[in-house]
């Protein structure tokens, strides 16, 4: 329940934040009319989405079509379980937390695939094909960069990795693993299908890609899942590279939230800065740059760990 509330609330906050950031980057106020400074706008949006008719495309596969948004959204809760938000503040204390997150994050690919296939729509299918090739490609450097950290920590336990880092910024893993952090960040943006890597939905070419046919909360669930995944990616990045809930002066859950939100804001900043990359470019960046770089980084890490 707490997780559902957390995800839902964060979804609302992030929708609002995203639109405000977009507005201010374009030097306009963003949402302004509903509530003071448009603060109730996401709630109004949610109400509108809930009120919309749920439509299944004729000759689409009804089961797969509606399974997709559910499959995209529900595994998100599993992703939050092993994350340690504060000292002793976690769902389940597990040794393979990192592995669990990485494994369940892959569900999203399946969901997008089903959404594209079930839509009986060629744009949807093309979007799904792109989603799969992109997500599969970017999962590799993501795993490799995470692996470098777990080499150093000697553990896949998120609490353990946090515990090994100090309170001050120079004691965090980002200092020893800047390349891994960069790779993780890029892959995180790509995995969550955020701009500039939002090719699966590329609304200008694909008329919204895999969710072309979704109306109302079908689309809403994908939307919410995207934001929830952003939070997970930011949280994992905060744990692995930025010292988790540890911070200067007083450790605690607030440091974790500050770090998550700083990373989320950075991702939004990316979105309103960079143009969408072409599909061949996206794969080139991954296969020609990130994977070799991540491999080299991993080798160097292993070597240093062995020697020191």
């Amino acid at each position: 329940m707490a997780l559902a509330a957390f995800v839902g609330l964060n979804g609302l906050v992030l929708v609002y934040l995203e639109r405000k950031v977009a507005g201010h980057v374009q030097r306009r106020p963003g949402p302004f009319e509903v509530g003071p400074h448009g603060i109730i706008q996401p709630l109004a949006d949610a109400l509108k989405l809930v009120g919309k008719q749920l439509f299944t495309p004729p000759r689409g596969d009804k089961l797969l079509f509606w399974l997709a948004p559910i499959l995209s959204f529900t595994p998100i809760f599993v992703l939050f379980i092993p994350i340690e938000f504060g000292p002793g503040l976690y769902g389940i204390d597990m040794d393979l937390g990192l592995l669990l997150i990485l494994a369940f994050a892959g569900f999203n690919v399946l969901a997008l695939c089903l959404a594209g296939w079930g839509s009986n729509n060629k744009w949807g299918l093309l979007g799904a094909a792109r989603a799969v090739s992109q997500s599969v490609a970017y999962e590799i450097p993501l795993l490799l960069s995470v692996l470098a950290i777990s080499f150093m920590a000697g553990s896949l336990h998120l609490g353990e990795i946090t515990a090994q880092q100090g309170s001050w910024p120079w004691q965090w893993n980002i200092v020893t693993q800047p390349v891994a952090f960069l790779i993780f960040l890029i892959c995180g943006v790509a995995e969550t299908n955020r701009a500039p890597f939002d090719l699966p939905e590329a609304e200008s070419e694909l008329t919204a890609g895999f969710h072309t046919e979704y109306s109302g909360m079908g689309f809403g669930l994908f939307f919410l899942a995207e934001y929830a995944e952003m939070i997970v990616i930011s949280a994992v990045a905060a744990v692995l590279f930025l010292g988790g809930w540890k911070g200067p002066i007083v450790d605690g859950v607030w440091w974790f939230l500050i770090k998550i939100y700083a990373l989320l804001l950075l991702m939004m900043w990316f979105r309103w800065t960079y143009p969408r990359v072409r599909f061949d470019q996206i794969l080139n960046i991954c296969w020609k740059w990130l994977i070799p770089l991540a491999l080299v980084n991993l080798l160097v890490t292993a070597l240093v760990m062995k020697l020191v």
Binding site: V21, H24, V25, R28, W269, Y274
Partner: protein, 197 residues
């Protein structure tokens, strides 16, 4: 004569040196930072839009705005347009949206011997604009020999029926003259009385 074309031959890219690739990589990374700086600066600067129903666009921001046409009054008589009824505007209008009608003139009085017959001055009876048809090409404004037409700065024009955009410009001129301050300065006159709508 036989033409010759210069064909530019692009050098076929061979394997680049490692240094070049690395330099390219870092300059690419730096360009990303530059991009972030641009949007970050915009994020931090003030807004350029106005909250429309609460705020109006300032007069100075409407400099050069070309709304529908309006009549320019005589400098001495703000109720009478400068128009001399030459009909150039109506004739030149490609969409035929201007209708000008002259007031019926009184019959010529029999002139005295030797003197020229005195004509009564022409008066505009109706100056009608169908803004639904107007393409804002500005030909009427340009072709008016006495500069009796200009573009208004009426930004807030809206309506629910097409009749809302059929305008009696003469009546509009009268409204403006009534709304205007009593004695406007001659140079400023061209700018005044937008308030009448």
């Amino acid at each position: 004569m036989k033409r010759t074309y210069q064909v530019r031959h692009y050098k076929k890219q061979g394997p680049q040196s490692v240094a070049a690739v690395v330099a390219d990589f870092f300059s690419g990374l730096w360009s990303l930072v530059v991009g972030l700086r641009v949007t970050g600066r915009n994020f931090a600067s003030s807004q350029v839009t106005v909250h429309y129903p609460r705020q109006d666009v300032g007069e100075e921001q409407l400099e050069g705005y070309r709304g529908h046409i309006e009549l320019v009054p005589k400098p001495k008589d703000p109720f009478t347009p400068k128009c001399i009824l030459c009909m150039m505007c109506a004739r030149v209008c490609p969409s035929g949206c201007i209708t000008v009608k002259m007031k019926k003139q009184p019959k010529e009085e029999p002139a005295e011997e030797g003197a020229k017959p005195k004509k009564a001055p022409k008066e505009v009876e109706k100056f009608h604009l169908n803004y639904n048809l107007c393409s804002l090409c500005s030909l009427c404004v340009q072709s008016c020999p006495v500069s009796s037409l200009r573009h208004s700065r009426n930004v807030y024009i809206s309506g629910f029926r097409k009749e809302d955009f059929e305008m009696d410009l003469l009546a509009r001129l009268h409204r403006q003259a009534e709304a205007a301050p009593k004695k406007p300065a001659p140079e400023k006159e061209a700018e005044t009385a937008e308030a009448a709508g």
